[in-house]
């Protein structure tokens, strides 16, 4: 991972993030879904809809749609990659880990479990943008709130 340097912008807008922004993975919607949650960030108008297909405590499939800044879109895209096929418990652990990274934890930022999402570690230096990076994860949390 590139270390933060200078104004941190090069890290914030590194190629991997822009790639996810421009070619989001798992974009779209799931006709067969067990949950659909729409969230908005009223501050900047970002909107996101997350479809999950849960089977026996496992996330069988996931899609998202919406629009927003590069951070919110890339973060949601990376999240879908991470959680697909995972159990709810595993997904929740990842969400907690990602939150820690957003609060600046270096430990979390080096946790391989976060996969490509580690590219977002630099967002922690931009407090207003943390909400952007969390938008998809918040939708996940809301989608799974009523599950054991």
């Amino acid at each position: 991972m590139p270390e933060a340097e200078g104004d941190g912008l090069a890290e914030l807008y590194q190629e991997l993030i822009l790639d996810h922004y421009r070619r989001p993975r798992n974009q779209g919607s799931l006709e067969a879904h067990t949950s659909r949650v729409a969230l908005a960030n009223p501050t900047c108008g970002d909107e996101l809809e997350l479809d999950l297909l849960l089977e026996g405590g496992t996330i069988r499939d996931v899609r998202f749609s919406g629009h927003g800044c590069s951070i919110s879109q890339a973060s949601a895209s990376m999240m879908t990659q991470l959680i697909k096929g995972k159990t709810l418990d595993e997904a929740r652990r990842l969400a907690a880990r990602f939150s820690e990274m957003m609060r600046g934890s270096a430990d979390a930022a080096h946790d391989r479990a976060l996969g490509e999402a580690r590219a977002l570690a630099g967002v922690a230096r931009f407090p207003v943008r943390v909400k952007c990076a969390l938008l998809g994860w918040s939708a996940l949390e809301e989608s799974t709130r009523d599950h054991p």
């Binding site: 807008y13 970002d46 909107e47 927003g68 931009f126």
Partner: protein
């Protein structure tokens, strides 16, 4: 216009180690030391509660407060200071208007007309009123250039709405509405006219009497004044007829256990301890703007906005929104770079712009964008500020992998 920058302490505060280029005055303006000092001086020398004291300090505080009212009346051409009601800001002024006018005028099935370029503050209060009263809320559309569709407006008036509410200047597009003409048409249709002047009073010489607005709202903090003070100006006849808004101290005549009678305007609408220091600061802001000259302020902004449009239009992939002829607000998008990303990137160069829906979601839908970036100008901005913005936008292009034009 003389260069006032030395009066603004915050402009000397570095941001990320760089000079602050503040281009978000449509959200709130910075304050000259004359205003900061007026507020501090009020607290140091004559603070007291107003209207209720028989002692010297209270008399002087009351005078200062009422002097501020007179200064506001003079600044916006209100013939009678009793028509000047102090509130927190435009939002409160418009909520007061909707609540009180609603009770005075609006019954089930009645019409209320707004436009598609309103700030949420001049929309939600009317939505809430329409829902509460089962009234009909109609939204007049815009032309492709971002101006009000006056034909559509005339059609809306044919249904004889009770209230017509529109903005003087759009906070997104900079569009300047022809208030006097719109008000005349509305009056011919028998409607009361409520104007959101939040983006007009700071930037143009406004004369509410000539405009013919029945109620006219604006905020002190957008015109060099302190936060927490704003104004609803109304014709005394209408304000007299309107029922009170907040109940409390200062707004009463006599109070029985379960009923009360109310004080004359403007006090009827000023329940509770007002923001006296805020009013005093607003008066200082008005004096400051008066010394610069509102015609000069407007000319300065016009020149700067023209320059900005020119510089920005030259950036590849940049798209400008709104009409040619406009106030000092420039909204734009740049290629596929989200406005929020733009704001973050230019901030790293010390340039403060706003990104988002600007509290105008209905307008965003009509522009078919979720958000725009917005630069807005005021007395302390310069051509160098515009150059800094243009340079920072080029940096954004580079970060997002676009080649230099």
């Amino acid at each position: 216009m003389r260069d006032p920058r030395a009066d603004f302490p915050i402009l000397g505060e570095p941001v990320h180690g760089r000079r602050l280029v503040y281009l978000d005055s449509a959200a709130t303006t910075q304050k000259p030391r004359q205003v900061i000092e007026a507020v501090a001086d009020y607290y140091r020398r004559l603070n007291a509660n107003v209207h209720r004291g028989a002692y010297d300090l209270a008399v002087r505080a009351t005078e200062a407060y009422e002097d501020a009212r007179a200064a506001v009346a003079a600044f916006v051409g209100a013939p009678d200071p009793r028509g000047v009601v102090f509130v927190r800001g435009t939002t409160e002024a418009l909520n007061l208007a909707a609540s009180s006018l609603g009770r005075l005028k609006v019954r089930a099935g009645d019409g209320i007309v707004v436009t598609a370029m309103e700030h949420h503050s001049n929309l939600i209060p009317w939505q809430l009123l329409a829902q509460e009263r089962a009234a009909r809320l109609e939204m007049v559309e815009l032309t492709p250039q971002g101006e009000l569709d006056v034909d559509g407006y005339r059609r809306a008036l044919e249904r004889r709405p009770k209230i017509v509410a529109f903005t003087h200047v759009s906070n997104v597009l900079g569009t300047i509405n022809p208030v006097a003409e719109l008000a005349r048409l509305a009056h011919e249709a028998g409607a009361v006219v409520v104007v959101d002047g939040a983006q007009a009073v700071p930037h143009l010489a406004v004369n509410v009497a000539e405009l013919g607005a029945d109620l006219y709202a604006f905020s002190g903090h957008k015109m060099l004044g302190p936060m927490g003070v704003g104004v609803l100006v109304g014709t005394p006849e209408l304000l007299d007829a309107m029922p009170p808004y907040h109940g409390g101290g200062e707004m009463i005549r006599t109070v029985q256990d379960t009923t009360a009678t109310y004080a004359p305007i403007p006090h009827k609408f000023e329940a509770g301890t007002p923001n006296v220091a805020g009013a005093v600061g607003l008066k200082a802001a008005i004096a400051y703007l008066g010394a610069l000259g509102m015609a000069e302020v407007a000319a300065h902004e016009r020149a700067l906005t023209g320059y900005a449009r020119e510089r920005l239009a030259a950036i590849e992939g940049l798209r400008l929104y709104g009409p040619e002829e406009r106030a000092g607000v420039v909204s734009f998008t740049l290629a596929d770079i989200h406005p929020h990303d733009l704001a973050t990137i230019v901030d790293s160069e010390g340039v403060a712009i706003r990104a988002g829906h600007h509290c105008a979601q209905p307008l965003m839908r009509r522009l078919d964008v979720p958000a725009t970036a917005r630069a807005s100008f005021y007395v302390y901005n310069t051509r160098e500020d515009v150059d800094a913005l243009a340079g920072a936008l080029e940096k954004a292009r580079a970060l997002f992998g676009y080649a230099r034009a």
